[in-house]
């Protein structure tokens, strides 16, 4: 009978062992590899976003300084003035590590950050915060799951200490995350209960397995935007760096690319995304509102994390294309009030590196399409980002205000000249 049992289970046992050996042999702390890192830094793909190993590998590279650039769909606009192109073309001392893609929001970033807390501790970061994130139903489970990996949830559970922010994050997680084996523990955190030693043990064990899988799989098939876009685009930059010349090139490139429509939108984007539905979009955005959204609470999670990690962050608030919103009827007053609310949340807590471009949507070739920075817009951002990252900065003092976790803040509709006295600390 023993022989028979061996014949039945032997192959299975061998297969399981083989898998374990292969997965566990993967190195979870790979040596720095600039080629892999620069590819990962410009891939903007969910695969990179979800991979702890790739993010950690790049951000802890001692030879090359990668700085996390948090944001969303704007990172895909890889033209000559894109932050990654500028850093590459002018051989700057930093390279952006682009995090986010269309659909990523504050909660996505909060959980993404959990995988790289040691890497952002006492470091710098850039964060493009778009008012478009702050829509009514900002919590979309489908969008969340695109950027979510179990490793993020596990890392969060490992990092959390039961603070108000942790409880709030767990509650939000349960609303949007897919069903999974860690939800039971999330529920405990959400209810303010502490995890048992057994559960903590389980988290570590599972995390180790997940990270090994990550190490094994993530280095394959990283989108090669570095060689396909960033490098060729960087050749268009005037050498050496000259801001005036750079502006001329930007305007020239913008002119060339926006010839088939009256909105100043990039030709390809216009053809693909606007042309067909243009008529139907007239006046369509009249009722859109960014002033009250649970996203304001989620954003507080991110701020809280930066404060805790003592990260010096520069926030950039982009504008919308004025010609375009005049057509779709998006309310400019509403847009400015939402920017005001975001800025209050930032500055009142000591996040004073705020680049407010929100009023520049009518400048020529500032926007690449409807809501995304392009040519001159990228340069305007760079005017602040470059010195911020290359010159010595004073470490800011943050004072976190938990009132921003309240529904009252999420739902609050500011007036044009609001001083937000209700939310003072």
């Amino acid at each position: 009978m023993r022989k028979r049992l061996w014949l039945i289970f032997g192959p299975l046992l061998c297969a399981v062992l083989l898998i374990l050996v292969v997965i566990l042999a993967a190195n979870t702390q790979p040596k720095s590899n600039y080629k892999v890192e620069r590819k990962a830094a410009t891939a903007t793909s969910p695969r990179v976003f979800k991979s702890a190993i790739l993010k950690q590998q790049a951000l802890s590279d001692k030879q090359h300084r990668f700085v996390p650039f948090f944001g969303s769909s704007e990172w895909k606009r890889m033209d000559a003035m894109h932050p990654s192109t500028l850093a590459e073309g002018y051989h700057r001392s930093y390279r952006p590590f682009l995090l986010g893609q269309s659909g990523s929001t504050a909660l996505t970033h909060y959980f993404g950050m959990q995988q790289m807390l040691p890497q952002i501790q006492n470091k710098q970061a850039v964060f493009v915060i778009s008012p478009q994130w702050f829509i009514k139903n900002a919590d979309n489970p489908q969008a969340f799951s695109i950027f979510y990996s179990t490793g993020q949830g596990l890392d969060f559970l490992k990092n959390q200490t039961g603070t108000k922010a942790d409880r709030f994050a767990a509650q939000r997680f349960l609303k949007v995350a897919p069903q999974g084996s860690i939800n039971q523990m999330m529920k405990k955190v959400a209810n303010g209960k502490s995890l048992t030693p057994f559960e903590k043990h389980r988290i570590n064990a599972q995390l180790s397995l997940v990270n090994h899988e990550d190490a094994f799989f993530s280095k394959w098939r990283i989108e090669d935007n570095y060689n396909k876009k960033i490098l060729p685009e960087s050749k268009k930059l005037p050498q050496p760096y000259n801001r005036e010349k750079l502006g001329q090139v930007a305007t020239h490139l913008g002119q060339q690319s926006t010839t088939n429509n009256r909105f100043g939108i990039d030709n390809t984007f216009y053809n693909k995304r606007v042309r067909q539905s243009e008529k139907g979009l007239a006046g369509k955005q009249k009722s859109i509102n960014y002033e009250s959204s649970v996203e304001y609470n989620d954003f507080q999670l991110v701020l809280e994390q930066f404060a805790q990690s003592n990260t010096n962050v520069m926030f950039v608030i982009p504008p919308v294309n004025h010609k375009w919103v005049a057509y779709t009827g998006l309310n400019e007053g509403m847009y400015q009030r939402s920017v005001k609310k975001i800025e209050y949340q930032l500055r009142s807590q000591g996040f004073n590196n705020v680049v407010d471009l929100s009023k520049d949507g009518n400048k020529p070739y500032f926007m690449q399409d409807t809501i995304h920075l392009g040519w001159n817009g990228w340069l305007a951002m760079d005017d602040h980002v470059d010195p911020f990252l290359t010159q010595k900065q004073a470490q800011p003092k943050y004072k976190i205000n938990d009132k921003f976790f309240d529904a009252a803040w999420a739902n609050y509709r500011p007036t044009a000249s609001d001083n937000f006295s209700k939310f003072k600390q």
Binding site: M1, R4, L5, L7, I8, F9, L12, S181, Q184
Partner: protein, 414 residues
């Protein structure tokens, strides 16, 4: 109790690889028992109870009560009919008993039609499979082949955990014989071997092939087809094939799991799929596809209907009789899937297909008989004709699966 039930984690049967870990852990004592030739009835009952409970725990806790009420209803009905049948045999009482046994299922199927697609609260995952089992029992009691059924065996047959949610549909007498007679060691080793293989094959089918088809093909094709719109378009053909194949790999994978777990518990649950896409005609297809369901319909609907129709001389021509019976049989199966136009059309198409298939087989037989008389060779049957037959059958069934999927409803009316 309800609150406690709602707070438990929900474990869908064979839903993810972790489930097998829990399952095998619970099965371990049963497996050891089988090896030493014993069935630990009480442990087995507890094991089944826990896993069934977890199937309906969490947000679906209402279904757990529905299941318990349903089992009570069926057990009482079966025992009452049995004690009636010992003394009398009125066919109307029999029809009544069958109707009452199917009654909960009928309500569950009709409820959404009249209540804006809201599911009935007496429904639960697996109700239709349980109904097949209990209706089958009542019919066999009428036949006189099933006697002396007791409460406990009835309950353990109906609530057999591995096949509770989606079959395969077993028969009481076969199941009971397996249950009472623990397999000897050689036979049990065969069971363990087949179970190991089936679980691995099931993993491959359900978690790899079906998953890839769903994510890489079915989803994108659906999106493209809906974007293009119109009555029919090229991506819809993609939906057709990918859905048909997805359905097979998902369901066949599931069935392999159910059979494997049954076998580990010493029950030789019948197989459900036997290379269905190798069928040369539709009749053969139904002998290969969802076999326990089609055999159930064959034995308890089709054969009985043909018998009644012939006995009462309803139709003069026996081909009309079988054609009529096909139509009733397949339409009933359509309704069983759900009261929507696409399920019913699916049943109708298969009925028409079977009738045409029968007609063609008769024609062929007649031709060959004539040719034999005339001293000629029979009609050619070679790799080409066989291949063509397989191709035709495959494409017909794929088309019916497109109907079955309900995707056309989305394409046309949404």
């Amino acid at each position: 109790m309800s609150q406690w039930l709602a707070s438990l984690p929900n474990l869908q049967p064979y839903g993810d690889p972790m489930y097998f870990g829990y399952l095998l852990l619970g099965l371990l004592p049963i497996i050891v028992g089988m090896f030493i030739g014993r069935r630990f009835q009480i442990y087995e009952a507890g094991f089944s109870f826990v896993f069934i409970l977890l199937m309906f725990a969490g947000p679906k806790w209402v279904q757990f009560y529905a299941l318990i009420a349903y089992i009570l209803w069926q057990t009482v009905l079966i025992l009452l009919y049995q004690s009636y049948r010992k003394r009398y045999d009125n066919k109307w009482v029999f029809y009544g008993a069958v109707f009452l046994s199917a009654f909960p299922l009928i309500i569950v199927k009709l409820h959404p039609v009249f209540n804006q697609n809201k599911a009935s609260i007496i429904g639960f995952l697996g109700i239709s499979y349980l109904t097949f089992k209990s209706v089958g029992m009542i019919m066999e009691m009428r036949d006189g082949v099933l006697k002396d059924v007791k409460i406990w065996p009835t309950v353990r047959f109906l609530m057999f955990m591995p096949t509770l949610s989606s079959g395969p549909i077993d028969r009481y007498r076969r199941f009971e014989a397996d249950y009472e007679q623990v397999p000897d060691r050689q036979r049990y080793l065969d069971f363990v071997q087949s179970a190991t293989w089936n679980i691995m094959l099931g993993f491959f089918y359900k978690f790899i092939v079906a998953y890839v088809i769903s994510v890489k093909f079915l989803g994108p094709f659906k999106k493209a087809a809906l974007l293009e719109g119109g009555l029919f378009n090229l991506p819809t053909i993609g939906v057709m094939y990918s859905y048909g194949l997805y359905l097979f790999f998902d369901f066949a994978g599931y069935s392999l799991f159910a059979i494997a777990i049954s076998k580990l518990m010493g029950i030789d649950t019948p197989i459900n799929f036997n290379k269905p896409f190798m069928a040369k005609n539709l009749k053969e297809f139904w002998n290969r596809w969802h076999m326990t369901l089609s055999f159930w319909f064959r034995d308890y609907v089709f054969m009985r209907l043909v018998l009644v129709l012939t006995r009462n001389k309803v139709f003069k021509n026996r081909n009309v009789t079988s054609g009529f019976a096909y139509m009733v049989d397949m339409l009933l199966m359509g309704f069983w899937h759900g009261v929507t136009w696409w399920y019913i059309l699916y049943g109708f198409l298969h009925a028409v297909g079977l009738i045409v298939n029968d007609w063609w087989l008769r024609q062929k037989k007649q031709k060959n008989r004539d040719r034999k008389k005339a001293g000629l060779e029979p009609l050619p049957s070679n790799w080409f004709t066989n291949g063509f037959a397989i191709f035709l059958t495959f494409n017909f069934t794929m088309f019916t699966f497109l109907v079955f999927s309900g995707f056309l409803n989305e394409l046309w009316f949404h």
